[in-house]
């Protein structure tokens, strides 16, 4: 089973995405801060990261910078899922897709994640 790290600070939004991702058949770990996400990467072998940008304290861009600064972590594909996305994020920092929360639905999220896995090197 593919393992997903979900980084989303909003409690109800996080529970909602957790249920979506579990419904798609993924093993999901959900954290609410960038630091908890970074810490958990040492404990878990995640196959993909679903990342919000507007996070408390260190935001999602900080998280991406930390990933990029470690050779092993920089290979993990990231799907950004946020209402506010800085320009130029797509295809940088390992970001494979950018999802606008306002336009997102479960089917779209499922397809995007499946597409990322389909294109990932084996």
């Amino acid at each position: 089973m593919k393992r997903v790290l979900l980084v989303e600070d909003d409690r109800w939004m996080g529970e909602c995405y957790l249920a979506w991702l579990q419904g798609f058949g993924y093993d999901v770990t959900w954290v609410q801060t960038a630091q908890d996400g970074i810490d958990s990467l040492d404990e878990l072998r995640v196959d993909i990261i679903v990342l919000d940008i507007m996070l408390p304290f260190a935001n999602g861009v900080h998280f991406l910078n930390v990933l990029a600064s470690h050779a092993d972590l920089s290979q993990i594909p990231v799907v950004v899922c946020s209402s506010m996305v800085p320009d130029g994020l797509q295809d940088t920092y390992g970001v494979k897709a950018v999802l606008n929360k306002a336009e997102l639905n479960p089917k779209h999220m499922k397809e995007v994640l499946a597409g990322v896995f389909a294109n990932a090197p084996v």
Partner: protein, 230 residues
């Protein structure tokens, strides 16, 4: 305008996603239908309350005649207002796995305020605390006598306010909305509106550090009238 749009976008997105989950049961955790319906209603209520406050805030800035009309003051029991507001907010707190606690209603004096506005201030500050408190924590609400004033205090354990932000926020409360780095998803507009409402009733909003969190307080004038209620 941008701050208001941002404050409204997040709850609308949440309502949309919760509704999508209900439409497609394969993306809904077991036995969560009722929770999701409750959350949709609560999120809609919060947004409506915010829009009403925004409208009143705009009227306060543009039409001084609003003050004697919408902010008519009367002697009120802070204890009763806090109790009423917490009763209203308890289901919301439960959905966030938090407790609300009236930790010190030691003030026997009445406060000079407008009932609807004061209740809205308590609700706003409690809502703010619930949003930023980690799950399983307590939001403390207290009323304290301070000389000629009565202080409403709402404490959370959410952290998130650095010393520089604290200083900046103290200087700018009521002047402009100010987002806080530790409290994502908010523009600071809610606190700006609370300060506006407090000022319209002759009071003031302030904040300070609390153990592992932040305390927001509103000082309002004490009434000379004695309370007949305990």
């Amino acid at each position: 305008m941008v701050a208001a749009a941002h404050e409204l976008k997040a709850p609308l997105v949440l309502i949309k996603h919760l509704a999508q989950s209900l439409i497609d049961p394969s993306t809904l955790a077991a036995n969560q239908q009722w929770d999701y319906l409750q959350r949709i209603q609560m999120t809609a209520d919060r947004s409506l309350r915010f829009v009403q406050h925004l409208t009143l805030s705009y009227r306060l800035q543009t039409d001084p005649r609003v003050v004697p009309f919408d902010f008519a003051l009367e002697p009120l029991s802070m204890n009763k207002i806090c109790n009423d507001a917490l009763d209203e907010m308890t289901p919301y707190a439960k959905q966030h796995k938090q407790q609300l606690r009236l930790s010190g209603l030691h003030c026997p004096h009445l406060v000079l305020a407008n009932e609807d506005i004061l209740r809205d201030i308590v609700i706003n500050l409690v809502d703010n605390a619930i949003q930023h408190n980690p799950s399983g924590n307590v939001v403390d609400v207290a009323a304290e006598c301070r000389g000629e004033q009565v202080r409403l205090v709402v404490r959370d354990n959410g952290g998130g306010v650095t010393l520089s932000e604290l200083r900046s926020l103290r200087q700018n409360l009521g002047a402009q909305p100010q987002p806080l780095s530790g409290r994502s998803g908010t523009s600071g507009l809610g606190l700006y509106i609370v300060q506006q409402f407090a000022q319209a009733m002759g009071g003031n909003l302030g904040l300070g550090r609390a153990p592992q969190g932040t305390a927001f307080f509103v000082d309002l004038l004490r009434s000379r009238q004695l309370s007949l209620l305990p």
